[in-house]
Symmetry: C2
Subunit: 436 residues, 2 copies
Amino acid sequence: MTLIRQLSTAAADFQTEFERLRHWSAETDAAIEGRVAEILADVQQRGDAAVLEYTNRFDRLSAASVAALEITQAELQAALAAIPAAQRDALQAAAKRVRAYHERQLEASGRSWSYRDEDGNLLGQKVTPLDRVGIYVPGGKAAYPSSVLMNAIPAHVAGVPEIIMVVPTPDGVRNPLVLAAAAVAGVHRVFTVGGAQAVAALAYGTATIPRVDKITGPGNAYVASAKKHVFGQVGIDMIAGPSEILVIADGTTPPDWVAMDLFSQAEHDELAQSILLSPDADFLAAVQASMERLLPTLPREAVIRASLQGRGALIHTRSMEEACEISNSIAPEHLEISAAEPARWEPLLRHAGAIFMGAYTSESLGDYCAGPNHVLPTASTARFSSPLGVYDFQKRSSLIEVSEQGAQVLGGIASTLAHGEGLQAHARAAELRLKG
Amino acid sequence: MTLIRQLSTAAADFQTEFERLRHWSAETDAAIEGRVAEILADVQQRGDAAVLEYTNRFDRLSAASVAALEITQAELQAALAAIPAAQRDALQAAAKRVRAYHERQLEASGRSWSYRDEDGNLLGQKVTPLDRVGIYVPGGKAAYPSSVLMNAIPAHVAGVPEIIMVVPTPDGVRNPLVLAAAAVAGVHRVFTVGGAQAVAALAYGTATIPRVDKITGPGNAYVASAKKHVFGQVGIDMIAGPSEILVIADGTTPPDWVAMDLFSQAEHDELAQSILLSPDADFLAAVQASMERLLPTLPREAVIRASLQGRGALIHTRSMEEACEISNSIAPEHLEISAAEPARWEPLLRHAGAIFMGAYTSESLGDYCAGPNHVLPTASTARFSSPLGVYDFQKRSSLIEVSEQGAQVLGGIASTLAHGEGLQAHARAAELRLKG
């Protein structure tokens, strides 16, 4: 079996093959959903007692209380002090850059604004942080300290006064890098609770774990189902699908670099999708050769191979413009323009979570430390949604102050429209403000 | 039975009574959900044929094709020309103000931005409109032309190139004001289709009705359930609960004005909630007297009475500060500060869909024509969500261009963190960009 399929937009069956390649649907497992609904209802009713039971059972712990599951700030600081200096420096450098970027984001789009119109009416929007947010951090092998930074720092920059992190610790094993990242990111409280019971505790609150206003962060199928369930009760971020990279290459980037970028997506899991588009057939062949040569050198070879064979593709396009159009139809999570003139192609690209421009901009630099968030819309949702950002931890309230003069102008309009809708009290409320 | 309950924060049972008052939960009707799932699956599979069948059956039509259900631009313009001049002028004046406000919103928070850091790396966010959106407009008696303006104009200002409106026309009855509003708001295409079948057509696309990227607008329980189902496939706005007003009064506003403002919310439906908070007991009594006197003069008396008796309250507080704290715990959709110094209290108010400041600012002026959007978060979701706005019709893509110099700085950080997470391909992709 070849490592990765080759398609050409000039082939008669391209559209069919392309759609088959793209096919993915979120599995909804009725058994999981039923179990999650039970856990949510139980935590809502019994609070701490239920959280403690599920946590002790599922994570094989023997905690005496939910309070005993809290990790203190001193323990977080101790974790930070105990990791190797290189890791500590890297975490702090990454956090500094992520913070700087999100502070720019706050300045650019997250400030209150208002104006007065010609009648002296004040109109505007007040932007305020959420009171309290919860960050779900997966435990075990797929524990990513970088995700702690990417979720907590935008909340911090938004001004959220209380950031609660939950992270399961199966068999009591704590990931020191995750705890160190929580210290660096300024997380306020950490509970070693996971699964649907953690989501329930954050959504409803218990005696020990405070109720939050929004829950962000990735998790397994139970966590995803629980987040969907509590949506409306609290805010949630997107439910993430498998990770994706799409590279548009003009043939000027070293083939090894592009091969490794495709691998770095594929190594996440077997369902991850890595696609390369190029009008240069020789370059596609060179990248394929690089992939075959480099793959055996990687520890996660098996995962990468399964991902590439199952969902990867090298696609020969007629032109760079056609590659951009195909990319728009995919709306990829990560989009690399690996080309000599990325600024020439960027305006053609309408939908993507993040756009990585130029040969030096490997996706992995963006994942960790360039500054922008690595929590990005997957599964074509970049058509209508955005990277996690400061705005996810803020909300807006409209501000309206109508002057006496303004009420005379607006009253007539409102009265006419309200009568047209059969809402007479609306009309009368406007009319009462009119001077006789 | 008294018209509206009176509570006092000084009473021993206040907290209990207050929680009882606030209790509301979104009913999920399993029968409706099952029926909706069937309709969605059927439209996804059979497209136009299914949409046509459901529409003809549920709305008692006999259309020959889905194409025959489209209302042309000429028909929209004819509707606008045919309504009374006062209504046409009012629609156009309201649209002009709503457009001006949302243009300010675009300027304040909806523009792309970027910067270069000290290593010459470019970082930023590109803000782009959605390609195509769908607006659901209810038919029949609860058809609100103002909602057409409030949904379509922000999409237009965001730059969405194609706005598709769906509106059911039971028995073929078209609401001329709704069509006129569509003409004024610049809706691109209108189909007289409603219910879950309309949501399905917009979410999946059919041969005749194009697939959209986001669906906004209110609807009945079938529509709400359908929107929840397709969420993820397309974007949706919030699922709205009953409408709410909370008035904080210092006693300086004419009691009749406040009474009518409370009515104007209560007239929406029996589940709507109207609450008045004041530290002035005499003022509360005066408002109650106004309500009893004014209510019999209103055509929607029965609905208002049911709403006030079921869910309304006049609450005597110890102070204006306490009133603000109670308001924060409610996070109301509409919040009036009917006081002599609204700017004194506004900073204390953290959660609300819209804040109406001063005696002249009746909620109804904001509903129709002040400029801000009247689609607002209900059921305490103002804790974490915002009014409908230009930002709902835009999405963001991160922009990252790492310079050769930047790759040297970032590569080491990314490599260290990637190795810490066991993602060696990520590390290698960063390392390949390091100069030897």
